[in-house]
Each structure stands twice: as C-alpha cells, then as structure tokens.
Assembly symmetry: C2
Homo-oligomer: 141 residues x 2
C-alpha cells in the first residue's frame, strides 16, 4: 500500500458578501486579528464543502461557493506551520451572522472599510486578489 | 504549541507547452496511465516551487509558472487517498524533455491529440479547464 507523504496542511478562507457588506471575523485563537472566515479542510470533504461547513460553523451563515480566487502557499505565511490556503468568494444564502467556534466577533464592513483593515497573515492580499476577480467585481460590493 | 490537524495531502499538476506541443507523461507508478507531470508539495516550499521542482525532476524541463487553473479536491479522485491537486499552466524555459523519476515515458502531443487521450483520474478535466483559461488560449497551442 502506497503511503502518502507528509505535505503542507490545507485550509480554506472565504470572502462572503452579506447584504452589500463583507463579513470579517476577529479570531478567538492565534493568529489573533481580523480575518476572513475559514479553517482546515477535513479528510473526506472537498474544498467547497469545507468552505460551506467552516462558514456555517464560524459565522452562522449558509453560503454558495462562487469561485476560487487564489492559492496562498508561502511556508512562512502562517506562524503555526506550513498551511496552504485555498481562498474562495461565496454568496450569502441564509442565516444571520454571529460569532461561533473560532470567531470572537463578527463584523460587517463595506469594501472601503475592509480595505483599510490590518488583517492577519495575507488576508489583506486575499481581498486585493478578489478585486481582480471579475465575478467579485460584478457584484459591486 | 498548536498542533496542526490532519488534512488532505496536497500536490501540484502542471500543463506545460513545449514547442507548441503539450508534455504528457506515462506514469511509472499507480495510478498508471497518461498524466500531466506533477507531485506532492514538500513542507517548506510554495506551490509554484513544487511545480518547478517536480517538472524538473520528472520530465527534465525548466519552466515558469504562468497561472493557476484549478483546484481538484474530490476525496475519491485519487485511489491512493485524499489528495488535493493544485493545477497550473507553465511555459517552457530550458531543457529537453525526457522521462525521469516517476515518469516511464514522455510524450509530446498537439492539443487535438491530447484531448483524445484517456488520462488518469481527472487529468482530462484539467485540460478542459485550462482551455477555459485566457492565458492558456492566448498561447494558441
């Protein structure tokens, strides 16, 4: 039986629009600070399933995944170890945002407000890359 | 110290153009068949570094990574276990294609020929997704 080698860990992060605002969390655990909701992908689920599960667990929203906006794989990006983030944009389906699980607080920011935040790791860069993405801009947040 | 959880493993695959042909390998190890060159990302390297290393080790070409074309994360896609593929397109820089490491043979196919291949796992789908990608089509293989 082939034994799979050790690789970096893999997580998802997700930029969610909720009534023309972006949903930003304050993380409960290190790295502390402003972040997009997300978390580690479980063995046995797709990346899109992980987005839907994590957004539900963390900010109480049901979402549809719209598109992949980037892969963030710098070994030094996450102080906890080598974690690759697959970053998606998603659209709101149902629910009211409230902090659960790893989120201490949930904030709703306009795009202009979100762009001024000092976010954890490369989460500010994720928003910049989302702005390059046609399906994000077409929504005109 | 935070212990990173178990997640799926993460690999890269890469569609490389070489003198207006696509470089397809025949895999030496299961899953056997036609595939794009690629392999597991090492802890400590970026996804783009893994592409450059794996393409060098497997088909003896030096390449530049052009762009990400997709993430393939179905838990059942790889018979060896849950492996997420980050799939890239890359452009030829130097070297002569020859099989090394995990490649039994290296083939150079036109786009039309490559589209007729029965490739391993979802590697045929990767080519279809690459065709949706502007930076791939602009090269007019």
């Amino acid at each position: 039986m082939f034994k799979l080698p050790e690789t970096p860990k893999v997580a998802v992060d997700c930029i969610v629009e909720y009534h023309r605002k972006l949903v930003v969390i304050e993380r409960l655990y290190p790295p502390l600070g402003y972040a997009w909701p997300g978390g580690f992908i479980d063995v046995g689920e797709t990346a899109e399933e992980a987005v839907i599960r994590e957004v539900g667990e963390e900010i109480n929203l049901k979402v549809n995944v719209v598109d992949l906006i980037g892969v963030y794989s710098d070994p030094k990006r996450d102080p906890r170890g080598h974690v690759i983030s697959l970053t998606y944009i998603a659209e709101y389906v149902a629910g009211t945002p409230k902090p659960k699980d790893d989120a201490k607080k949930v904030h709703l920011y306009t795009l202009t407000e979100a762009m001024k935040l000092d976010m954890v790791i490369d989460h500010g860069q994720m928003l910049m890359n989302a702005l390059d993405h046609a399906k994000f801009n077409r929504r005109r947040i």
